[in-house]
Symmetry: C2
Subunit: 147 residues, 2 copies
DNA sequence: GACACTAAGTTCTTTTTTGGAACCCACTCT
DNA sequence: AGAGTGGGTTCCAAAAAAGAACTTAGTGTC
């Protein structure tokens, strides 16, 4: 498994993790969904080193997850925003949050709750097949290996 | 952000990533869902070093995602199986696969396709709120910060 | 005009993690 | 007796991350 030339890697899990598979990347994405756009703000919130944050932002930009936009001139300053590809990460983030709330202690303390705008109540994420409407579990699907 | 004493970490994303946030862990989980249970088999499939694999398996066991079971005596040999907590990772794996198929090239080559057992067709994963049945997007929810 | 401040980085040095290969142990099989 | 098997551990080199200081192009303050 080579993490650099992933063009040759057929498994989608490996390809996904080549972008997302490290300690910080999804934390950066989380902050972007919370509306954080600027380098210093992220760096302070995450407690990440500036070097690593710069590297992750560069990689996320290269992967097409974030785009870097100037928000002022003299001196030029950039902010980071999610692209459509980045926004498509939302289901991963939600399922991760849902799993962690239920399975990584402490259950009692949480920094965020996702509420339905419709009902105002906490959401209860469920993965279904859009074609049939049935829940997806590892028991009611089969995996066809094509590689 | 301290990755070792995560008891004090209120964000569920951070708590989730303290278990899953590295290059290999979800690859190991993927193999477990594919029915791979033994050390050597994983090591060969993943191309991971034995040292790192042993470390990840230990950590996943500590986190309650896998359990280690003897499958023979003289000499005693162990295999690794997903616990209920590990099986609860399935939605994360499916959303990751779905995102990677659409967003990390090459789209044309894939090692696996997930099929509905009911229809035999590829599934189309969609995250909905079990309470309302409505799709969950970053636009129709609000995040309440409680920490 | 000198000085502090800001935002977005870069450049060091030290510590931690990973990669790669060899070795170990308790068996079984030829 | 010697090779093979399965699940590791040990050792060393290479890569990545942590931590802190420095840079650059400006702005605002004394």
């Amino acid at each position: 498994m080579k993490w650099d030339n992933l063009e040759t890697e057929p498994c989608p899990v490996a390809r996904g993790l080549s972008v997302l598979g490290d300690r910080w990347t999804m934390m950066v994405v989380r902050d972007c969904f919370l509306g954080i756009r600027r380098f210093d703000q992220m760096q302070q919130r995450l407690g990440i080193t500036r070097h690593v944050l710069a590297d992750r932002l560069r990689k996320l930009e290269t992967a097409g997850v974030l785009r870097r936009e100037p928000y002022q001139d003299r001196p030029v300053r950039y902010e980071y925003r999610l692209t459509e590809r980045g926004k498509a990460l939302y289901p991963i983030l939600v399922t991760l949050i849902d799993w962690a709330e239920d399975n990584v202690p402490p259950k009692t303390v949480t920094a965020m709750t996702i509420l339905s705008q419709e009902t105002g109540q906490p959401i209860d994420p469920l993965l279904v097949d859009a074609n049939t409407g049935n829940p997806i579990t590892h028991r009611n699907v089969t995996v066809r290996k094509t590689g």
